[in-house]
Symmetry: C2
């Protein structure tokens, strides 16, 4: 039987409560309690969770070996470093921080303390992402030349600090961190060659409530990542184009399909009327030259994230979400903002 690791949460909002429950359910973790600057938020905790009255009290509790930080984005750095210095292993919510310089300070603190430090990139286990990555990895569509990843909602940025720039709000640092992390993971080991980004300010003058990023990789692969929060009609979640076929996943439920060409040479289309003109190029294919396939589900279990952290703390595994990956991601976030502010293509080798 493995000795349980005492777990605690700092910042008990929506995501903090999520982590508290996951710790409570986790057979490898003993959920000790949580601290929030607003004591109202820790009145109800899962299990026998204790409401700590200060961060210092929590960090002084020797039962606690693992602290998950789920505070607003601009406070991660200070709390993570304090927790590491107190000898805790630390999970930070995403984005780990807003600048590479801050991240490097955090990594240095982890190295100095000799403790585990990682980031909750939970959407590496999203079924839609895993299904699309599987199609890409297996080369199902032939050489892929374009991947499009979109997350569309229509509620603007709901409430609290998430729409305040000074607290690290905005969609690049919210959903962007997820879908850009997925981009880097799916396309690894390719290197990013250029970034073009545009930010939206539809519902909010100070804080991006949507964005469009066009990344070009060193082998020519184009990857478009987009978040919108004023989209009352959604485009598909995923769209992938290969030389021999296309794949689409329309929603979180993995509705979608793969369409493969079965007869590439058969291009002798009969022109169709499209609008007021004729087109041979855009004549739809008939079913004798294409085949339809369903989207294959891939097994994945988000709980592997905490399992991995616990195993790393016990010295039995390497981190899934590594410092090198986080450095690359934060550098990409910086590049997205740089491109958008300048309205320029930023060329790089990342």
């Amino acid at each position: 039987m493995i000795a349980k690791i005492g777990g605690a949460v700092v910042g008990h909002g929506g995501m903090g409560d999520f982590h508290a429950h996951r710790m409570e359910e986790n057979p490898e973790v003993d959920f000790i309690g949580a601290y929030d600057i607003n004591p109202e938020r820790t009145k109800k905790l899962p299990g026998n969770g204790k409401a700590f009255s200060s961060l210092e009290e929590l960090l002084a509790d020797e039962r606690i070996g693992l602290v998950t930080v789920a505070t607003p984005n601009d406070t991660h750095k200070e709390i993570v470093i304090k927790a590491l210095e107190a000898g805790k292993n630390v999970i930070s919510e995403k984005p780990v921080t807003m600048t590479l310089a801050d991240l490097d300070d955090m990594i240095a603190a982890a190295d100095k303390a000799g403790r585990v430090f990682t980031v909750h990139q939970n959407r590496r286990w999203d079924p839609d992402y895993l299904a699309m990555k599987n199609i890409f990895d297996k080369n199902t569509l032939g050489k892929v030349f374009c991947i499009e990843s979109r997350v569309h909602g229509s509620r603007g940025i709901p409430g609290d600090w998430r729409n305040q720039k000074e607290h690290g709000g905005g969609m690049v640092l919210d959903w962007g961190v997820h879908i850009l992390d997925q981009m880097l993971m799916m396309t690894f080991p390719r290197k990013l060659a250029s970034i073009y980004a545009h930010l939206d300010y539809v519902t909010n003058e100070n804080c991006d409530d949507g964005f469009h990023v066009e990344a070009i990789f060193d082998d020519g692969l184009v990857y478009r990542a987009e978040v919108g929060t004023s989209n009352f009609i959604s485009l598909p979640r995923w769209y992938m184009l290969g030389e021999n076929g296309s794949a689409v996943i329309r929603d979180w439920d993995l509705n979608g399909e793969i369409v493969m060409v079965s007869d590439w040479e058969n291009r002798d289309a009969v022109p169709i009327i499209a609008g007021v003109g004729l087109t041979k190029t855009m004549a739809p294919r008939t079913d004798d030259t294409i085949k339809h396939y369903p989207i294959e589900r891939v097994e994945g279990d988000w709980r592997d994230f905490y399992r991995n952290v616990c195993a790393v703390i016990r010295g039995e595994a390497n981190l899934i979400v590594t410092h090198a990956q986080q450095r690359r991601l934060v550098k990409l976030l910086e590049t997205v903002f740089e491109s958008a502010v300048k309205n320029e293509v930023v060329k790089l080798s990342l």
Copy 2:
């Protein structure tokens, strides 16, 4: 009764034959005949059309007042100028030419000859375009911040000179000319502030078989125009986002809808599970805060193009497709290629 204008076609391929038939059907035009460098192509002409044995013979025919040029793109300039110098009024197929310098030579020739010179931008009458322009013009969605126009096929570039760069092939100069002309017409009188473009070379190493253009206008409007020819699954033809609603037209048959918010303030969403995480931002709206509307068809008649040309020849109207519009469009085409070749954002005021 109006005196008929004698009409002829130079270049009797797919589009030339289209024009020959439209002239033959047109009560204001007397279709005289056609010339093609390949005599096989003029063996069958509509009505009593004559197969001319040379361009010179055609231009010397005094019955002919209007010549439509439907030859490969790289030959428009020479033939158009010869026809103008022979005293003919001239319609060029699109793209009128590939460089602004060439276009200016053609315009100078028209001015010198005192003849009508215009370009067949037929897709200004496409029902899908007119329906989307109507939504935009009426401000149906509130302030529009993003328009996306996509044309997706899966046959590569079918046959002939259209996939040969030296003849002006490629999708920027084919479908691009249409959808970028629509962009300039829909958004007029806004000015283009920047262009970012990426070209695809999926089926062909020398000639773009797809492209993605992101245009930003001086008021911040983002307009994305995209053509793909290796897309076995199509994204919607049109997608428009306004502050209060979204519109989509999925196909040439105008399948689509408008979704408008009826209660913007109601953002207090219940978080949903999306992938392995919770999201309040991306929780779909329920029908109590949105309303669905059909796409309204707008009356339009492509035959207005030839009617207009005939009226201009008679001195009774001004051109619909003007020299100024064509200069702006060709400058935009040049900018698209410049941006794509450099992989840079080109800033301009156009």
